[in-house]
Amino acid sequence: MLLAISSNPWLDALVRLGIVALLLPVGVIWLTWLERKVIGRLQQRLGPMRVGPYGLLQGIADTIKLITKEDVRPVTADRWVFELAPFVIVVPVIMALAALPFTAEILVRNMALGLFYIVAVTGLSIVGMVMAGWGSDNKYALLGAVRAGAQLISYEVPLILTAVAVAMLAQSMNLQAIVGAQHDTPFIAYQPLGFIVFSIATLAELYRQPFDIPVAESEVVGGATVEYSGIRWSMFQLGEFASLVLFSVLGSLIFLGGWTWPLDPDGLDGSIQALLMVVKVAMFIIFFMWMRGSLPRLRIDQLMALCWQVLLPFTLLQIMINGLVLAYDWPDWTLTALSGAGAAAMIFVVYQAARREGVPLAPSAGPQRVGSVL
C-alpha cells in the first residue's frame, strides 16, 4: 500500500515529511491569494491583480516583505514565551499533517489511531495562542488570548465527539479504513447533524467568522498576535492556513467519502483519487472563505453559549443515536432520519434563540446581559 520512496522506513518518512514541509508554505501562500480573490468577488471587486498575472504572485511578494521586516520584540515581553509561541502553534499542525492521508498513496504514515492522533495533536495549538497573548505584555493580547483559550478549549469538545461518532460508524479510527467504509455512501448522508456540528466547530477552531473574536480585527486588532510583526506574524498565518487545509482534508475524509466516493474503489488511478480529493477539499475551503465574507462575529459569551448549550448536547445526541442504531442493528435509513431530525431541531433551537426578544435591561444598572440560549 505504501509506495516506498526508499526501502529504509526512517529515510522514507523523513523524505515524505520534508515534502510536506516544503509544500506547506507554498500551499499556504497560494491559499492566501485564493482567499483574497474569493472575498473580493463576494464584495463585487477583483482582489489582487497587479503582482503577476491576476495577482498570483501576491503571496510571494507578501512573504518577501514579511521576511525583510525588522524583528520587533517588546522590551517587557517575556522573551522565550514570546518567541516560541509561533512555533508552538505551527508545529502541532505539521505533526497532524503527518498522519493525514490525502489519497491512498499520498501520505506520510497511516496510523491505526490516526483520527485520535490528529484531534489530540491539534489541541496543542491552544497553548501557543495563550503563550503569544501572555508573552506580549499587552492588555489587548491578553484579552485576545484569554478569549482564544476559552473558545478553542470549548469547541474541541464537539469536534472530537463528532469524530468519535464517525469512528463509531466506521468501527475504526484508521483514516484509510474510514474512507473504505464510505465506498457506497458518504457519512454525510448518515450523519447530517454530525456534519453540521463539525463544520461549525471547525469554523471556531480556525478563528473564522462568525467565531473570530479572539483575533477580531476591529476590536482587539489581532488579539494575541498584535505585537508580532514580520516573519513571526506570518508563522501565525501559516498555522491558520495549515489548519484550514488540515480540517478541510479531515472533513473530506470522514464525511464526504474521501478519495473513492462516488466512483468504484477498485482500480482507481492515483490521479483520479487526487482529483476527487481536491474537489472535496476545495468545497470545504470555499465554504469557509465564503462564511468569512458573509457573517459578522458573535460575542464571546454568545459563542460559548452556542457551544455548551447547543453543539455539545446535540453532539451527544448524535452519539446516542449512533449507539442505538449500532446496538439494536436498525437499518441504515433510521440513522439518516434520526440524525436529520436532530439537525432540524438544532437549527430550530438556534433560530429561536437568536430571534427571542428577551428582557430589555436598564442601562448601567441591574444584571449584565449575558448570552444564553435558554
Binding site: L42, Q44, W290, L295, Y351
Partner: protein
C-alpha cells in the same frame, strides 16, 4: 437561520455581478466636465501672454492663503500690442495648501484661472512637499501646450464680476475698476450681469467667453 441564509444569498448574488473595480492607472475613469482639480492659469493665445494681470483678488479671497501674486507693467501694452496695462510678474500657488474650494476661480475678474479638470490636475505625487509650490510657468504649462481641453467656465453666480472678455471696449475700464480694491457698496446691484441671474443658464452660457457647459 433565515437571516443568515439571506445574508449568504446576498453575497452570492454579489459574487456573480461584474466587479466594479477600475484598474487604475492602466484604465482611468472619465472625469466629469466640472471636475475640480488644482487651479491652473490660462494663456491668451491671441496676445501671447497670460490672462492674469496680477490683481491679487484671488490671493485676497483664498481661505488658506496659498496664493502669492505680484504684478508689473506690461511691456506689450507700451508697445501697443495688448490692452492689459499690467501683467502678472510672479504667481506662486502652493498646491499643498490649496483646498480646491474654487473661490479663486469665482472671484477672478479676468477669467484667468480655472480648475484643472483633467487627470493631470489631480495626479500630483511628489517626493518633496516643496515641489508642490507651483510657479507661473508650471501653472501655465498645461494650457500653453494645449492639454487643458475644456475647462469649466460657467458664469458663477454673484461673485463673478461680469467682465466679459469679448466686450473689448469695456475691457479696459472694467479691468481698471476691478484692479482697485472695491469700495463698500450701498444697497444696489453691482456689476454682476442681471441677465445671468434671471434667465436660464443655457442662455447665459451662450454669452460666456468659452464654450462651458451647453
Amino acid at each position: 437561520m433565515l437571516g443568515i441564509v439571506k445574508s449568504i444569498g446576498t453575497t452570492v448574488r454579489a459574487a456573480f455581478r461584474r466587479p466594479v473595480t477600475v484598474q487604475y492607472p492602466t484604465e482611468k475613469k472619465v472625469l466629469p466636465h466640472r471636475s475640480r482639480g488644482f487651479p491652473v492659469l490660462l494663456w491668451d493665445f491671441e496676445k501671447d501672454e497670460p490672462f492674469c494681470t496680477g490683481c491679487q483678488v484671488c490671493a485676497r479671497y483664498c481661505p488658506v492663503d496659498c496664493i502669492t501674486v505680484t504684478m508689473t507693467d506690461n511691456p506689450k501694452h507700451a508697445q501697443g500690442r495688448s490692452k492689459r496695462k499690467k501683467i502678472v510678474d510672479a504667481f506662486y500657488l502652493d498646491y499643498a495648501r490649496c483646498m480646491r474650494c474654487d473661490i479663486c476661480v469665482e472671484v477672478c475678474n479676468f477669467d484667468a484661472i480655472v480648475m484643472n479638470n483633467t487627470w493631470e490636475g489631480v495626479e500630483l505625487s511628489r517626493y518633496d512637499r516643496t515641489d508642490l509650490v507651483m510657479d507661473k510657468e508650471e501653472l501655465l504649462r498645461q494650457h500653453r501646450t494645449g492639454k487643458l481641453g475644456d475647462p469649466f467656465r460657467e458664469p458663477m453666480g454673484v461673485a463673478h464680476s461680469g467682465w466679459n472678455p469679448h466686450k473689448e471696449d469695456e475691457g479696459d475700464d472694467a479691468a481698471e475698476v476691478a484692479a482697485q480694491p472695491q469700495p463698500p457698496q450701498p444697497a444696489k446691484p453691482t456689476a454682476a450681469p442681471p441677465e445671468a441671474n434671471a434667465e436660464d443658464p443655457g442662455a447665459a452660457s451662450e454669452k460666456s467667453a468659452e464654450g462651458g457647459e451647453g
